[in-house]
C-alpha cells in the first residue's frame, strides 16, 4: 500500500474515535483488579516432584528432568478464560498475579509477608494462601539458583552481597528471562516443524555435523518432544474450556462464535502454522505463556510483530475476514493480555526495580535485512490499538531510520502525547553498528528487536542475558580515592570493599586517578563475572529452558539447551548506573585539583569524606557553575565518554561460560536510587546518599540549556560499544508539546538526535501538578502511566522516592 494511503488511514486519532466497548470493559476490569500472587506453579512443581514420574526423573538427564517438570505444569494448570477477550490463555491462576518461582528469587517476598496489603504495591492474599506461601517458600529455600550456586562456605559472602547491593546487583540470580523468541517461526511454521526435526535427529542418531548423537544431545531432542507436547496440552485444555463456555447457558450467539473460534485456534496453533491474523497472535500468546512459566517473567518479548504478522493481516484483509478496525480490536485485546502478569519484588528490591513492570516488548517499524524501510500499516495499527488500552504493559518500541515514513514518526509521537511514556524510540544506525560490533552479521543486526525495556537482540537468534546485573560506576571512583574503602565510616572500622589501589598521596596527575578508577572498575567486574559464572553453571544443571531453546536459532542444530551456549549469538549484559555522575566527577576533580590546583587531592577527599560539611560554597559552585554533561559542552561530555569507555572496555574484555561476550548497557532501571543511597559524596557536588544519575541522562537539574542540548550531548557520545543499548529519559510538560506543533517539534527532535548518532530516547509527557496531586491522593489517579527508566509503570506503584524523582526531574 502507498505510504500516503496508510497515512490517511492511520494518522488522525479522531478518525479512530470509534471506541470498542469490549476493550473498555476488559481494561476497566483489569484496572480494578487487585494484584496477587499465584501459587499454582510452585504447587504443581511440588506435586510433580512427589509423583512417581517426578521421583524417577530425579536421576535422569537435567534436560529431561526439567522438561518433565515444566510439562507437568503446562499440562495440569487450570485454563481460565475471561469475559470478552478475543485472545485467550491465562498467565496465572488469577486475573492479575505474580508467578512464584522457587528456582528464582521469589523467596524475597517473605520479607513483606506481614505487610503485603499495606505496601506501595499491595498484594492481596488470603491468610490461608499466606500460610501456603510460607510453606512453599520454606520448603524450597535450597531450590533457588542463587542458593545452589552460592550457599557454600567459600561463596557465602557473595550470597550476602545480594542484600548489600553496593557495587553491583546481580539480577541473574532471579532468572534470565529477557528474550525475543523466534515468533516468525512459531507463527508461520508451527512447533510441528521443530518437533519433526527432533524426531529425525533421534531416528537418525546423527547430529547436524553427521556425528553420533551424544547423550546430552539425545536428552535434548527428547526434552524438545516432551515440551512441545505439553504446550499443545495447555492449548487443548484451553480449547476444551472455551468450548464448554461457548455452550453454557446464557452465552450470547456472538460470544459463542468467538469462543468457538478461539477454541478452534487453540486446537491448531502453536503446533501448526497460523491460518489467520488472529491465530497468529494466539500462537504468539500461547508460547509467551510457556516462556513465562519456564524461566521467569522479566523482559520476555514478542519482537517485530508488525513484520511477523503482516502477511496474515494482508491475507485476511484481502479475503474480507478482517478490517483495520477489527484488527485494532484484536490487537487491543492482545495488548491487554500482557497486563495479567506482574513481578514479585519485596519492598527492598522494589527500590531497585520500581514500577511493577515486566516489559513485554513489541518492536515496530525499521528495515529489512538489506536496509529498506518495512514500516507497514500494521505498525501504525499497533499504536492505534494502544490508544485504546493505555496500560503499563506492553512495552512499545519504534525503530527510526533515514527512510522511516513521516506518518509513522508522527503517529508514534502522537502516542507519546497520550502521556503513557510510550513508545520509546530507537536509532537503527547506532544499534545496527553496535550489534555488528559484537559479531552479528549486518542482516541479523538489521533484524533487531527490543528485549524488554531497551535491550537489543537479533530476534529469534540471540541468547542475551540482557539484564544480568547492574553496576554502580561512581562507587568505583569513591573506592579509587580511598584505597578500596568507602568514605562513610572511618577507614579502620570497615572491611575493604574494593581493591587496594594507589594511595592518593602518591597520585600526581589526573591519569593516576583514572588508573585507580579503572582498576576499581575491573576489580568489581571481575568479582561480578565470577558470581555470574557460578550462576550459569547452576542454570545448566537446574534450570535448562527447553521452550526458549525451541524458539531460538542454533539450539536445534547444536542439539543442546540454550543455557549450554547453543544459540547463534550469546551475550551477557551489564548495566551501568550513575554514568553522568562519574563523568562530571572526573571533570570536576581534574579541574579543581590538577588544572586549577585549588585543592590538593588529599584536601578534596577530606571534603568528600565529611560530605561537603563546611564546604557548602564549593558544593554550590560545583553544582551550579561547573560544566556538566548534557549541555552540549564538549569538555564535559568528553569525561562522560571517558567513564563510559572505561566501563565498556572492561566489560567487553570478559566472556561468559556460553562463549558469549559481556556487553554494556547504559541504563539503570531504578537502581540509581538504590545504589545512590549507598554511595558517598562525589567530586561533582553530589552529596552522600543522593540518587545517582539515571541511564544516559544528565545529572538531575544539570541540563541547564534544555532538551536540544541534552540530545546533542547524548548523540555526540560514541555508542558503538553499547551493544545492550542505553536509556535517555526526557520529560516534557504536557503543555509544551501538545497539538500538532508539539508533534512536529518532538518528531524534529528525535529525527535530529538519530541523525547525529543517537541510540535511544524515551519521553514522558506529563503535568507536574497532576503528579503532585497523584502522590498526595493516589486513589484519585488510577492508571496514570509514567516512564521510569526503560519501562513504564503506574505512578501509584512507584516507590515514594521514585515518585519524587519523577516529579523533580527537570521539566522542559
Amino acid at each position: 500500500m502507498q505510504n500516503t494511503a496508510i497515512a490517511e488511514k492511520i494518522l488522525p486519532v479522531d478518525s479512530y474515535c470509534q471506541s470498542f466497548p469490549r476493550i473498555q470493559k476488559i481494561r476497566t476490569e483489569l484496572l480494578l483488579t487487585s494484584n496477587s500472587i499465584c501459587l499454582e506453579r510452585p504447587c504443581l512443581l511440588k506435586e510433580f516432584s512427589k509423583s512417581k514420574e517426578g521421583r524417577t526423573s530425579k536421576n535422569q538427564h537435567p534436560f529431561i528432568r526439567r522438561a518433565k517438570a515444566l510439562a507437568y505444569i503446562f499440562s495440569n494448570r487450570l485454563p481460565r478464560i475471561y469475559q470478552d477477550e478475543l485472545i485467550i490463555g491465562n498467565m496465572t491462576s488469577k486475573r492479575i498475579a505474580a508467578n512464584y518461582y522457587p528456582e528464582g528469587g521469589s523467596i524475597n517476598i517473605l520479607e513483606d509477608l506481614f505487610k503485603l496489603e499495606k505496601r506501595q504495591t499491595p498484594l492481596k492474599l488470603s491468610s490461608k494462601e499466606k500460610r501456603k506461601l510460607l510453606s512453599i517458600a520454606m520448603g524450597s529455600v535450597f531450590d533457588s539458583i542463587g542458593a545452589k550456586a552460592l550457599l557454600r562456605p567459600d561463596r557465602i559472602s557473595h550470597f550476602l552481597n545480594f542484600f548489600r547491593a553496593k557495587r553491583y546487583f546481580v539480577t541473574e540470580e532471579a532468572g534470565i528471562g529477557h528474550q525475543v523468541g523466534g515468533y516468525y517461526n512459531v507463527v508461520h511454521h508451527g512447533l510441528i516443524k521443530v518437533e519433526k526435526e527432533a524426531v529425525s535427529y533421534l531416528e537418525s542418531g546423527k547430529s547436524f555435523q553427521g556425528q553420533q548423537l551424544t547423550d546430552d544431545q539425545i536428552a535434548f531432542y527428547q526434552s524438545v518432544k516432551i515440551i512441545i507436547k505439553s504446550i499443545c496440552n495447555m492449548a487443548l485444555n484451553l480449547a476444551e474450556k472455551a468450548e464448554k463456555m461457548a455452550n453454557s447457558a446464557g452465552i450470547s450467539a456472538k460470544r459463542n462464535a468467538e469462543l468457538l473460534e478461539a477454541a478452534a485456534a487453540c486446537r491448531h496453533v502453536p503446533y501448526h502454522p497460523a491460518r489467520s491474523f488472529k491465530e497468529g497472535l494466539q500462537a504468539c500468546w500461547l508460547v509467551h505463556i510457556a516462556m513465562n512459566l519456564e524461566d521467569f517473567e522479566q523482559g520476555l518479548s514478542f519482537g517485530r510483530l508488525d513484520q511477523i504478522l503482516y502477511s496474515l493481516y494482508c491475507q485476511d484483509i484481502e479475503q474480507m475476514k478482517l478490517t483495520p478496525d477489527s484488527a485494532i480490536e484484536i490487537l487491543a485485546s492482545f495488548q491487554l493480555k500482557t497486563c495479567e502478569t506482574i513481578p514479585l519484588y519485596s519492598d527492598r528490591i522494589d527500590r531497585f526495580f520500581s514500577g511493577n513492570g515486566v516489559a513485554q516488548g513489541i518492536t515496530l517499524g525499521g528495515t529489512d535485512e538489506k536496509g529498506n524501510d518495512v514500516t507497514n500499516e500494521l505498525s501504525g495499527l499497533f499504536l492505534n490499538a494502544f490508544d485504546h488500552v493505555r496500560t503499563r504493559e506492553p512495552a512499545l518500541h519504534v525503530r527510526v531510520h533515514e527512510a522511516t515514513p513521516d506518518w509513522f514518526l508522527q503517529k508514534a509521537v502522537e502516542t507519546v502525547q497520550l502521556g503513557c511514556g510510550k513508545p520509546s524510540f530507537f536509532g537503527d544506525n547506532s544499534i545496527v553498528r553496535a550489534l555488528e560490533g559484537v559479531g552479528m552479521t549486518k542482516a541479523h543486526a538489521r533484524d533487531y528487536a527490543i528485549i524488554g525495556c531497551v535491550e537489543m537482540a537479533s530476534q529469534g537468534r540471540t541468547y542475551n542475558s540482557s539484564d544480568a546485573a547492574l553496576f554502580n560506576l561512581p562507587l568505583c571512583l569513591e573506592l579509587a580515592l580511598n584505597r578500596g574503602k568507602q568514605f562513610s565510616k572511618p577507614d579502620w572500622s570497615q572491611r575493604r570493599l574494593g581493591a587496594k589501589t594507589q594511595a592518593i598521596t602518591q597520585m600526581t596527575c589526573f591519569e593516576d586517578v583514572v588508573k585507580a578508577f579503572k582498576y576499581q572498575v575491573e576489580d568489581s567486574i571481575n568479582e561480578m563475572v565470577k558470581v555470574i559464572g557460578w550462576l550459569e553453571d547452576s542454570y545448566r544443571i537446574w534450570r535448562p529452558t527447553p521452550v526458549n531453546s525451541i524458539i531460538t536459532e542454533g539450539c536445534m542444530k547444536n542439539g543442546l539447551d540454550i543455557t549450554w551456549g547453543s544459540a547463534l549469538y550469546n551475550l551477557t549484559a551489564i548495566q551501568v548506573a550513575g554514568l553522568a555522575d562519574a563523568g562530571d566527577s572526573l571533570y570536576a576533580l581534574n579541574r579543581l585539583v590538577f588544572e586549577e590546583k585549588r585543592y590538593s587531592l588529599e584536601e578534596l577527599v577530606k571534603i568528600l569524606k565529611c560530605n561537603f560539611k563546611g564546604f557548602e560554597i564549593l558544593r554550590e559552585e560545583l553544582t551550579h557553575k561547573f560544566p556538566r554533561y548534557g549541555n552540549g559542552i564538549t569538555e564535559a561530555d568528553r569525561m562522560t565518554q571517558l567513564a563510559a569507555d572505561i566501563f565498556s572496555d572492561t566489560i567487553r574484555s570478559h566472556y561468559n561460560s556460553r562463549g558469549g561476550q559481556y556487553v554494556p548497557g547504559m541504563y539503570s532501571m531504578t537502581c540509581h536510587i538504590g545504589f545512590g543511597q549507598k554511595t558517598g559524596a562525589l567530586p561533582n557536588g553530589r552529596p552522600a546518599g543522593y540518587r545517582l544519575s539515571n541511564g544516559l541522562s544528565p545529572v538531575d537539574g544539570s541540563d541547564r540549556t534544555g532538551p536540544t542540548a541534552v540530545l546533542r550531548s547524548a548523540g555526540s557520545l560514541d555508542s558503538s560499544k553499547w551493544a545492550n543499548c542505553c536509556a535517555l529519559n526526557m520529560k516534557f510538560d504536557k503543555k509544551s508539546v501538545q497539538g500538532k506543533a508539539g508533534r512536529m517539534a518532538m518528531a524534529g527532535l528525535f529525527k535530529t538526535y538519530f541523525e547525529q548518532g543517537g541510540m535511544q530516547v524515551q519521553v514522558n509527557v506529563l503535568d507536574t501538578r497532576i503528579l503532585q496531586e497523584a502522590k498526595k491522593n493516589p486513589s484519585a489517579y488510577p492508571g496514570l502511566v509514567v516512564r521510569v527508566a526503560g519501562y513504564c509503570a503506574y505512578f501509584n506503584d512507584l516507590h515514594p522516592s521514585v515518585q519524587d524523582e519523577i516529579i523533580e526531574r527537570t521539566v522542559h
Partner: protein
C-alpha cells in the same frame, strides 16, 4: 560558560546587548526555535513580566531564593558596593560583575551580555539541525529587537545563508522615517525586507490608554503595522502575524477588542494570537529591585473565552500561542 563572559570585541565589530538565548522555544514561530532576547524596550507596559528587558544597559540581579548567605559577593566586591547580599549601592557599583562571577549558587546574575554576530552564530550553530528538521528557526525577541537593526541585518543574512528561517517579535514602536538610535534607518528597512516573519504585538487601541498603560503614543505602532501589512500584500514578505496580550481589565475591554478587530480586517489580517496574562515573571521584579507590578485579577478561562468569542464573532480567527496555523501567512 563562555557565553557568560563579556565579549570584548573591537569597536569595529557590531555588537548587541542580549539577556537570554533560549533553545527549544515553540511559541515564537513555527517549529523548534531558538529565541534571542535583546535588551532594551521603548515601552513600559504595566503588566510586563520581563523587567530585565527594559534597560539598554547590563544589569545585576539578585535571586534571594538561591542565596546561601555565604557573603562571597560582599567580600569580593572591589568597590565595597555591597553591604549585604542583595544590598548593592548603585552609586558605588561600577558594573564590574565580580559578584556575578564569584557567587557560587548563581543567586547573583547578570542580565545583558555584549554579543557579536559571530558569537551568537557560534552558539546557534549546533542547533541548526533541529531547526531544519522541524521547519523551525531563530526568533529575535526582547525587549525590542529593532533597537539593534544593523546588527540584526548582519545576523539575519548570515543565518539565512545557512538556510535558517528568521522571525522577529516586536512591540511595533520603531521609526522607519527617522534616524534610529543605533544605526541608520536603512538598516531597519532592510531588516524588514529580508526577515521571514514578524510577530507584531498589539496592545491598546486607544492612544490615551496606550500612553497610560504602555507609556508611549501608539500612532506609530499602528502606522508600522499597516506599512508591514501593505508590504506583505505586494512583496509577500515578511509574513505578518499579530498578537494581543489579554490583560484583565486593560486589554480585554469590549471597545479595545472591537477596535482591533476592525483594524485587523482593514489591514486584511483576519487572525490573531491571544496571549493569556500570567504572573510568572512577578518574582523577576524583586530580583531587579523593580517595584511590583499591578495587582491584576488572574485571567480566568471564561474571560479568555469571552475575548475570543467576541473577536471570532467579528471575523477574526484566534489562536493560542504555539498553536498558530503558520500556513496562513
Amino acid at each position: 560558560m563562555k557565553f557568560m563572559k563579556l565579549d570584548n570585541q573591537q569597536n569595529t565589530d557590531l555588537t548587541s546587548l542580549v539577556f537570554s538565548v533560549q533553545h527549544f522555544c515553540m511559541h515564537d514561530g513555527p517549529g523548534i526555535r531558538t529565541t534571542i532576547f535583546f535588551k532594551g524596550c521603548p515601552l513600559r507596559c504595566t503588566w510586563c513580566q520581563n523587567p530585565e528587558s527594559w534597560s539598554r544597559k547590563p544589569q545585576i540581579a539578585f535571586k534571594q531564593h538561591l542565596c546561601i548567605g555565604c557573603r562571597t559577593c560582599v567580600d569580593k566586591c572591589p568597590e565595597q558596593a555591597l553591604s549585604d547580599p542583595g544590598y548593592r549601592n548603585a552609586d558605588k557599583c561600577v558594573l564590574c560583575f565580580t559578584c556575578v562571577g564569584e557567587c557560587p549558587s548563581t543567586a547573583v546574575v547578570r542580565f545583558g551580555d555584549l554579543r557579536s554576530v559571530g558569537s551568537v552564530i557560534d552558539e546557534l550553530e549546533p542547533e541548526f539541525p533541529f531547526y531544519l528538521n522541524s521547519n523551525g528557526g531563530v526568533t529575535f525577541s526582547g525587549g525590542e529587537p529593532t533597537l539593534y537593526s544593523e546588527f540584526l541585518v548582519n545576523l539575519t543574512e548570515d543565518l539565512q545563508n545557512k538556510g535558517i528561517h528568521i522571525s522577529m517579535e516586536t512591540c511595533g514602536y520603531f521609526s522607519l522615517n527617522e534616524k534610529a538610535i543605533d544605526n541608520s534607518k536603512t538598516s531597519l528597512k532592510k531588516l524588514l525586507s529580508i526577515i521571514n516573519l514578524v510577530i507584531f504585538d498589539l496592545k491598546l487601541f486607544d492612544n490615551e490608554e496606550h500612553k497610560q498603560y504602555c507609556g508611549t503614543d501608539n500612532r506609530q505602532i499602528k502606522e508600522n503595522f499597516t506599512t508591514l501589512a501593505k508590504q506583505k500584500s505586494f512583496q509577500n514578505k515578511p509574513g505578518l502575524w499579530p498578537r494581543l496580550p489579554v490583560i484583565p481589565g486593560i486589554t480585554d475591554s469590549r471597545d479595545n477588542l472591537i477596535n482591533w478587530s476592525d483594524f485587523l480586517l482593514e489591514n486584511q489580517i483576519p487572525f490573531l494570537t491571544l496571549v493569556p496574562y500570567h504572573k510568572m515573571g512577578e518574582s523577576k521584579r524583586s530580583w531587579l529591585n523593580t517595584e511590583p507590578g499591578p495587582d491584576l485579577t488572574p485571567l480566568s478561562d471564561e474571560m479568555l473565552k469571552a475575548a475570543q468569542d467576541l473577536l471570532e464573532s467579528r471575523g477574526i480567527t484566534c489562536y493560542a500561542p504555539g498553536e498558530e496555523d503558520w500556513s496562513l501567512i
